[in-house]
C-alpha cells in the first residue's frame, strides 16, 4: 500500500508515515506507556487481593471455627471467644435506613431545585460550590456537628446518644454527596427531553416529574446507594455521637425503646472496638468483622448496580 504525500515532505516522510501506520510493533514509547498503565492496574489489583487475602488469613480462626456464632453474637470487647457482630450488623442496617429516609429525599429535592429551578444566579453558583466543598469535609467534623446538634441541642427529640442521632449525623455527612450525584444525573438528561415535555404544554414540575426524574433515576439511585455504602463504613462520627464500643445489652427494652433511648453500635465501630483489644484472638475477630463489613458494602454496591441496570433507560 502506498501513501500519497505532498512532494514537499519528500519520500522519507512518506516512508516514515507508512511505517507509523503499519509498524505498531516499533512504537516503543506507546508500548512503554501501555506497560506503565497496565502495571498501575496490576498494582491496584494486587493491593486489593493482598488486603482480602490478609483479612481472610487473619480471620480464618473465626471463619473456620465459629462463623455462625460470630454472626449471631453481640458486641463483646472483653472476650474474643464470645465476640460477635450481630448487634453491629443490625445497627449498621438501622443507620442505613435512617440515612435513606432522611438524606435521600432531602438530597434529591435539593438537587432538583439546584438543577431545574435555581438557574445560574450568583447565589445558586455559590451554593453549588459550597455543596462540593462540604462533600470534602472530614467525617469527624460531622461527628462534632452531630454531637452538638443531634445529641446535645436536640437531645429531647433524638433521645441523646441513640441510633437516631447517629443516623441523622450520617445523613448530614452524605447529604452533599447525594446532592452532587443527583445533580450530575439530572444534568446528564438531554435538554430535548425537557423541551419535549414543555412543548406539549406540560408545566415545569410536570416535565421534571414525568420526564426528567425517570430519565435520571438510574444515576440518582447509583449515587445515593453509593452514598449509603459510605455511611455504612463510617466510624469516627459515630464514636462521637455515642457508638458503644464495649458491651451492649438491651435488657427488657422494647424495639422502640432501643431505637429512641438505648445505645447502638455499628460495624465500623465494632471493628474499631475489637482492633483496640490485644491478642491474636481479637486480631482474628477484627479481621472477620472487617470481612463482613466488606461483604455488606459489596452487597449494597451490588444493589446499586442492579437497580441502575433495572431502571436504565435509553434515548
Amino acid at each position: 500500500m502506498s501513501i500519497a504525500t505532498p512532494d514537499r515532505f519528500g519520500a522519507q516522510s512518506a516512508a516514515s508515515l507508512t511505517e507509523r501506520l503499519t509498524g505498531a510493533r516499533r512504537d516503543v514509547r506507546g508500548r512503554i506507556v501501555e506497560w506503565i498503565l497496565l502495571s498501575a492496574l496490576g498494582l491496584s489489583l494486587l493491593i486489593l487481593v493482598a488486603l482480602v487475602v490478609n483479612l481472610v488469613d487473619r480471620a480464618w480462626p473465626v471463619l473456620d471455627g465459629r462463623l455462625g456464632d460470630f454472626l449471631s453474637s453481640g458486641l463483646d470487647a472483653s472476650n474474643a471467644a464470645e465476640a460477635g457482630v450481630w448487634q453491629a450488623i443490625r445497627g449498621t442496617l438501622t443507620l442505613a435506613i435512617i440515612v435513606a429516609i432522611v438524606a435521600f429525599p432531602l438530597g434529591i429535592a435539593c438537587a432538583i431545585y439546584l438543577e431545574e429551578y435555581a438557574g445560574q444566579s450568583r447565589i445558586a453558583r455559590l451554593i453549588r460550590i459550597n455543596v462540593r466543598n462540604l462533600a470534602g469535609v472530614p467525617s469527624i467534623v460531622y461527628g462534632i456537628l452531630g454531637l452538638t446538634i443531634f445529641v446535645k441541642f436536640a437531645g429531647g427529640l433524638t433521645g441523646g446518644r441513640t441510633v437516631i442521632a447517629g443516623g441523622l449525623t450520617l445523613a448530614t455527612l452524605v447529604l452533599p454527596v447525594v446532592i452532587i450525584t443527583a445533580s450530575e444525573a439530572l444534568r446528564a438528561v438531554p435538554q430535548s427531553i425537557r423541551e419535549g415535555a414543555l412543548g406539549v404544554g406540560a408545566t415545569k414540575w410536570e416535565a421534571v416529574r414525568s420526564h426528567v426524574l425517570p430519565s435520571a433515576a438510574p444515576g440518582i439511585l447509583t449515587g445515593t446507594v453509593l452514598a449509603l455504602s459510605r455511611a455504612a463504613g463510617e466510624a469516627a462520627p459515630l464514636l462521637l455521637v455515642g457508638g458503644i464500643t464495649g458491651l451492649l445489652r438491651t435488657g427488657n427494652q422494647s424495639i422502640w425503646q432501643q431505637i429512641t433511648e438505648g445505645g447502638f453500635t455499628s460495624m465500623p465501630v465494632a471493628i474499631f472496638s475489637y482492633a483496640r483489644q490485644t491478642g491474636a484472638d481479637f486480631q482474628a475477630v477484627t479481621g472477620a468483622a472487617s470481612l463482613i463489613l466488606l461483604v455488606l458494602v459489596i452487597i449494597i454496591n451490588g444493589l446499586a448496580i442492579w437497580l441502575r441496570n433495572r431502571f436504565e433507560s435509553r434515548w
Binding site: S72, S73, G74, D76, A77, S78, N79, A81, E82, W86, Q87, R90, G91, L93, T94, I97, A100, G160, R161, V163, P214, A217, L239, G242, G243, I244, T245, G246, L247, L248, R249, T250, G251, N252, Q253, S254, I255, W256, Q258, I259, E261, G262, G263, A275, R276, Q277, T278, G279, L307, R310, F311
Partner: protein, 356 residues
Amino acid sequence: MTRTRWTLAAALAVVLPLAACGGDDDSSQAPSTDATEASTAPVEGSLEGSIFISGSSTVEPITAAVAKLFSDANPNVAIQVEGPGTGDGFAKFCAGETDVSNASRKIKDEEAATCADAGIEYVELKVAIDGLSVITSAKNSAVECLSFTDLWALLGPDAIGRNNWSDASDAAVELDATLAGKFGKIHAPYPDAPLTVTAPGEESGTFDSFVEIVFGKIAKELGIEDDAPRPDYTASPNDNVIIEGIAANDTSLGWVGFAFVEENLDVVKPLQVDGGNGCVEPSPDSIASGDYPVARSLYIYISKSKLADSAALAAFVDFYLTDEGMSVIGTGEGQVPYVPLAAADLEATRAAWAAR
C-alpha cells in the same frame, strides 16, 4: 412505568423487614442463668432498668466482662459499656450522663469540681491494678534495668533531641549528683545506639500514669513545673501500635500497659525498673505487692444520685465486688489480663462500697 413502580415497591419490601430486624432484642443470648450466680442480687432476675458505663478504655474490658456476667443473671437490665478514655468518661459522668465511670487514674481536682458544681456525688472504688512496663526490643541486650533517674534523662522534658542513648549519659550523671540516688542508681554511660521512642500519646491514660508515677516526683524534687516527657517521639493511643513500634527498632524505648507486654514477649523486652529500692522485674506478684514501682490502680466511680434511682445499679456494683465479679481479672483463658487486687485491698474496696 407500572413495572418500574412495582420494582421500587419490591425493593422497599426487601429493605423494610431489615428495619424491623434493626431493633431486634438480643435477650435470646442472655437466659443462661447459672445457679452459681445466685450471689448477684436480692431478687434474682427480676431487676429492671438500664446502666450506662463510660470512661477509661483500659478498664472497659474488666467492666464489660463483669457486666456480661451480671447481664446473664439479670436479663432485664440493659447495660451499655463504652471506653472513650478516662477524661471523656468523667466529662460525661459529671454531666450526669453516665451511671458508672471507669478510670485508670483518680479523678482530677478540676473534674471533681465539675462534678460538685453539677451536684453529682460519687463513690470511688479501686478494682484492679495495671502495671506499666518500660519496654525495649527483644533484640536489645545492652539494657536490663533503668531507674527513674535514667528514664528522666532518656525520656524526660530535657531529653528532647537525644537521638542516641549515649547523648543522655552526661545529663544522667549530672542529674544523679542532684538527686543523690533518691530515684534509683543511674546506669550511665548508656550504649552508643540510636534511641527511638514509641509510647502512648497525651490522650492516653497510660501517658498520664507514666508521667505521674515516674516524672511527677522527680520534677517536684528538682523544683520544676514541666514534668511532661520529651515531645519528639512516636505517639499512639493504641497499645498494639506501640508494641509494633518498639519491636521495629533494635534499640527502641517506650512504655505500655503490663498486660500488653505479656502477650508480646517474643518481640519486646520489659525492663526492670528501679524507683529507689533497687531493680524490680515487672510480674503479677511484684505489681500486686507494690514492689514494682511503675504500677497504677484502676477505679470505677459510681454516681450516688443515680444509685438512689436505680436498684439495678446498686446490684451491679455489689456483683462487681463479689469474688465472682472479680474473677474476670487474671491471665487465664477468657480473663482480662490485669493484676487482681491483693486481699486486703479488695476488703478495703468492699468496705468503701458498704460505707457509701
